[in-house]
Each structure stands twice: as structure tokens, then as C-alpha cells.
């Protein structure tokens, strides 16, 4: 931390030295606009510099290192040895990785659409029916609570709620004579259980974004369309949805990026089990790197994750922009 604090006076000094230099070398009356421009540029760069250094050191350089390591065998002890594409070839023969890929894909395909639709519907309802009511604000606040809990806290609680023997959920379902399920212990329901918790945790967040977006749509549109006899359903599909397109884009993009990174919930709730039923991509990366110390192999998986996210973003961009015209 020390270097950050001492950075400030240094910056101060540099800016002032610069002032002095410029004042000394350039006559005050003449090309002031040029020197001012240069001085401003230097100041701008200095302001951006601290964050730029962090970005370079802890984001941009590591990306290139990841790509490099992915073509090597590296176990931390010995220097990385180039191994060509072998990590990538191994990846697709590794049943653990393939299972993790499949699980993550299912997780994304279940959570992203459901959380997007639920948060949109809830937001639309709250905005159209309850925007002036205190109860509406209260409901929004309550639904946000799962967002602020850590995935670790949420996973800890839900693991206990999902407990097969007299857990809260099974007991509750018992009231309706629904037979008890071994939620986290069975390969059929474990992944779905994690998806449920994820949706539970995310809806409040996207609801806030959607709600703000809907409140930003002009009331006039709704009033004039109501005069023309539009039903609430028509208003929703013809006004709300098209107007919210940029926000939906954001919600889906964030949803996809976050969902591909799922780790905490499944680590806490099932540890990847039963068998390989809830192993996720990031868990596979974590295990390869920090349990087996196969850094090169783990980096190959990480680079694969990056490629998947990039490709999906590009495709999503295409889908969203095609309808734009």
C-alpha cells in the first residue's frame, strides 16, 4: 500500500515541475494555446497513469501470459516448456473438462433466459402497477437482498435448505404431498438446484436495471397508446420491449459473462458432485491449476473460456443489431 500513498506527492511534483518548465521555456504572451494543450495532455496522462499501470500489470500482461502458458507444460517448479497444441488436444479428451463444459453450458442456458425474463416481467409489473406505492419500493428492496449476500453465504444457506433429510424445502413440499427429492445428491437435480439459487440471487440485480429503464420511458407513449385502445399486453410488447432493447442487451451480456464464470455456488453447495454432475468450467480451471499444478493446462482452459465468451458476445451482438434496422 505504501507505494500508492507516496505516489501522490510525486504526481503533484511532476505536474508542478512541468508547469515550471513550460513557463520558463515559452514566452507567456505567445503560443499559450499550444503549451496549454501540451500541459493538459501531460496532466491527463498523469491522471490516467495509476489505473493504466494496474490495468497493464494485472490484466493485459496476464492475458498474454495465459495465452503463452496455454502452449506450454508448466508446473510452477520448473520453467514452462513449450508443448504446442497438446494442452488443447488433451482438453477435449478429458472427460472432466468436457463434463464441466456441458454443465456450464446448461447452467448458462437455464439461468440467463429465466433471470432475464423474470426480472423484466417483475420490473414491468412494478413499474406499471406499483410505481407510486410504497409497497412497490419495499418489494424491490426485498428482492435485492439476495444480490448483496455473497455466493458463499447463499450457497451455505441453500445447501442446508436443499438437504435431503428433512431439509426445509423437502418439508415445505411435503405439505403439498410432493415427494422428497435428494436435491443436491442426485445427478438429475443437482445442477438445476444450483441454477435455481443463481436465478434467485440475480433477479433482484437485473430487476433494478430494468426498472430504471422502464421508468425512463416516456409516460406519454403509454397514455396515448391507451387512448388508441392498446391493451396492457400490447403496450408491453410494442412499447416496453422495443424501448428496453439496449438494456436487454446489457442484461443478457452481463448474464452470459457472469454465468460462464460460475464457481462459488457449485463449490459451496456440491463441490462439483455428485460425480461430475455440477463441475463447472472455472472449477475445472481451478482444479487443474491449484490442485494438480498443471498451470499450462489450466491456462488453455482459461483461454478457451475467453474465446467462448468472445464468440458468444459477437454472435449476440449480431442478433441484437440485426433487428435494429
Amino acid at each position: 500500500m505504501a507505494e500508492d500513498r507516496s505516489g501522490l506527492p510525486l504526481l503533484y511534483l511532476m505536474i508542478h515541475n512541468n508547469d515550471l518548465v513550460l513557463l520558463r521555456t515559452v514566452p507567456k504572451s505567445g503560443g499559450t494555446s499550444l503549451t496549454r494543450k501540451r500541459r493538459e495532455a501531460v496532466q491527463g496522462i498523469l491522471y490516467v497513469l495509476p489505473s493504466f499501470i494496474l490495468l497493464i500489470v494485472f490484466c493485459i500482461i496476464p492475458i498474454f501470459m495465459s495465452v503463452y502458458f496455454s502452449f506450454t507444460d508448466y508446473n510452477v517448479m520448473k520453467a514452462p516448456a513449450l508443448s504446442g497444441f497438446s494442452n488443447y488436444q488433451k482438453m477435449f479428451q478429458d472427460t472432466y473438462f468436457v463434463a464441466s463444459m456441458k454443465n456450464t453450458l446448461i447452467y448458462v442456458l437455464v439461468t440467463v433466459p429465466l433471470q432475464t425474463i423474470l426480472s423484466l416481467l417483475f420490473a414491468a409489473f412494478l413499474a406499471s402497477k406499483m410505481s407510486k406505492m410504497r409497497a412497490g419500493g419495499f418489494l424491490r428492496s426485498v428482492m435485492f437482498i439476495p444480490v448483496i449476500a455473497s455466493a458463499v453465504t447463499a450457497g451455505t444457506i441453500w445447501r442446508i435448505i436443499f438437504n435431503a433429510d428433512n431439509g426445509l424445502l423437502n418439508t415445505f413440499l411435503g405439505f403439498f404431498h410432493i415427494p422428497a427429492l435428494n436435491w443436491l445428491g442426485s445427478t438429475q437435480t443437482a445442477l438445476i438446484s444450483i441454477c435455481i439459487v443463481a436465478i434467485w440471487k440475480n433477479v433482484g440485480y437485473f430487476l433494478v436495471i430494468y426498472y430504471a429503464g422502464i421508468m425512463g420511458i416516456s409516460r406519454d407513449l403509454y397514455e396515448s397508446s391507451a387512448v388508441d385502445g392498446a391493451t396492457p399486453a400490447q403496450q408491453f410488447f410494442r412499447i416496453t420491449m422495443p424501448m428496453l432493447k439496449p438494456i436487454t442487451y446489457l442484461v443478457v451480456t452481463l448474464g452470459i459473462i457472469w454465468s460462464f464464470q460460475v464457481f462459488d455456488l457449485s463449490y459451496l453447495m456440491t463441490g462439483g458432485g455428485p460425480g461430475k454432475a455440477t463441475v463447472t468450467l472455472v472449477m475445472s480451471i481451478y482444479n487443474a491449476a491449484f490442485k494438480q499444478y498443471r498451470m499450462g493446462y489450466a491456462c488453455a482452459q482459461a483461454v478457451f473460456l475467453l474465446l467462448v465468451v468472445v464468440v458468444i458476445n459477437v454472435l449476440e451482438d449480431k442478433v441484437f443489431n440485426r433487428g435494429e434496422v
Binding site: G44, V48, L126, L139, T156, Y267, Y286, M295
Partner: protein, 276 residues
């Protein structure tokens, strides 16, 4: 007016309201369950009210004395405090540079910042671990704090910074106000609302961070609360009251923060959403 409002409540919308309320209950119930269970000694999973004793803090006492939660709590508080401070400082400086100063390549650089927001943290995690390991920085607060600082803060504050009037900054400059004083005395107070939003974001991100602390701390003295809680869960599998007491401790701080700064939470998210 009144009748008009009543008209809007069709049977369908009442059904909607019921679904909404049901979801709201599901949102709170697990937390209520957590708090109540942390006051019981019973090993059953169903709340039996005769076992619940709200004056019996023995689970909490045990969590704090026996499982290193005190140290983890202190670590989390230090890490969160430093993360919030440095993220705000560094991000607002950068945002000011991007928005109010001109330098060559500015917008291209800003685009790089935005692109890095799309990159999953796990891609950079392993090399970062190796860098930190080689520099002997694992098990330090520095390692835990520095990764929290990312381009998001710069992006968020820049949105807000455009509302700071250029004339004001010009006037201060003409009056001979030193550059850094313009920044700290004029700009920072003006962007205070967005700084609070960023504090809230950083607080939650840093407090809830799990994977990076799990990797970068090998010494139990440096565990953060999330790591300590995950270990508590493995150590005391079936002592549900105890595990949930740990969960309650880790939840109570962000929850209080949320109760106090609710508006900033919501506005911060809305701000990042609408303009993003």
C-alpha cells in the same frame, strides 16, 4: 382518481401481485431461516421454536473463538476499506483524465478499458497468481486489494464526470488554482454521489470475493470471511446452527451497508445500466 386506480387491478394483475409477493418471500425467507437457526443448538433442520433461544449467543461465541473468524473479520474489513479507498481514488483520477483532459489516443485507450470489463477474471487469474508468487506477494493485503481495482470504476465515474461543468474548472484555473487542488477540492466533492455508489459496489465485490482469496491466501492468518466460512462449512458439516451463525456474521455487514445506503446501491446499478 381512486376508482380509476381500482380499475387497474384486474384478476390477472392480482395474480401477478401474488407471484411477486411469493418471490419476495422466497428472497427473504432463507435469511430469516439463517438468523433463527444460528440461535439454536438442535441438529434438526426444521425450526423448532422451543429450541430457539435469542439470548443464547454460544454459536457466535464458538465461531469467533474457535475458528479464526475474528482474524478473518479483521482481514475482510481491512481489505474492503483499502479496496474502497484506492478504487475511488484511482478510478476518479482516471475518469477525470479521460473526461476533462485531452491527450492523444484517449478514446482508443478508453475503449481498451471497456474491453477489459468483458474479460472473465479467471483468464488473468493464473498468471496473476504466478506474478504475485514470484514477487512474494501472496498472503498480503496488497494482493487481495489490487485485483479489486478495475476499469468499471473509471467507466462509472466518467459517466458522471461529464456533468461537472467545464466553466467551473476553467474559472478555477484562471484564478490560479493548482491542478491537484482543482481535482481534490472541486471535482471530488462534485462527484461525491457516484463515489458513494462506487464505494457500495466495491464494498460488495470485495467483501463477497471468494475465488481470488481462496487462491492467494495459503496462510490461515490471511483468510477473508468468505474463505473462513467455506472452511467452517467443511469442518462442521452437520452442526447447522454453527455454520449458519458463520453465514450470519458474513452477511450482516453488507446487509447493514445496504440498509443504510440503499438508494446509492440502486442508483449506482441503474446508472451503470442505463448509460452502459
Amino acid at each position: 382518481m381512486r376508482t380509476k386506480k381500482l380499475d387497474r387491478w384486474t384478476p390477472l394483475s392480482i395474480l401477478g401481485l401474488l407471484i411477486l409477493c411469493f418471490f419476495a418471500v422466497i428472497c427473504v425467507a432463507p435469511f430469516l431461516y439463517m438468523v433463527i437457526m444460528s440461535f439454536t443448538q438442535s441438529t434438526t433442520l426444521i425450526i423448532h421454536w422451543r429450541d430457539v433461544n435469542f439470548t443464547d449467543f454460544s454459536n457466535f461465541v464458538y465461531v469467533f473463538t474457535k475458528s479464526g473468524f475474528v482474524r478473518a473479520l479483521i482481514n475482510s474489513i481491512v481489505v474492503v476499506g483499502c479496496s474502497c479507498f484506492f478504487n475511488c481514488l484511482i478510478a476518479s483520477m482516471a475518469a477525470y483524465g479521460f473526461e476533462k483532459k485531452n491527450f492523444p489516443g484517449k478514446e482508443a485507450l478508453f475503449r481498451v478499458y471497456l474491453i477489459t470489463l468483458m474479460i472473465p477474471g479467471q483468464v488473468t487469474m493464473i498468471p496473476t497468481f504466478i506474478i504475485m508468487n514470484n514477487l512474494g506477494l501472496l498472503n498480503t493485503y496488497f494482493a487481495l486489494v489490487v485485483l479489486i481495482i478495475n476499469a468499471f470504476g473509471v467507466f462509472l465515474i466518467r459517466q458522471f464526470m461529464s456533468g461537472v461543468p467545464d466553466e467551473l474548472l476553467e474559472a478555477a484555473k484562471v484564478d490560479g488554482c493548482p491542478e491537484l487542488r482543482i481535482f481534490f477540492r472541486i471535482v471530488v466533492p462534485l462527484i461525491q454521489p457516484v463515489l458513494i455508489s462506487l464505494v457500495v459496489f466495491t464494498f460488495v465485490t470485495s467483501w463477497n470475493d471468494f475465488l481470488w482469496p481462496l487462491i492467494s491466501t495459503t496462510n490461515s492468518d490471511m483468510y477473508t470471511l468468505t474463505v473462513a466460512l467455506s472452511l467452517l462449512k467443511t469442518q462442521y458439516q452437520t452442526n447447522y446452527g454453527l455454520v449458519l451463525a458463520g453465514a450470519t456474521v458474513s452477511f450482516v455487514f453488507p446487509f447493514l451497508m445496504y440498509v443504510i445506503l440503499q438508494k446509492q446501491f440502486v442508483e449506482g446499478i441503474a446508472l451503470s445500466g442505463i448509460k452502459g
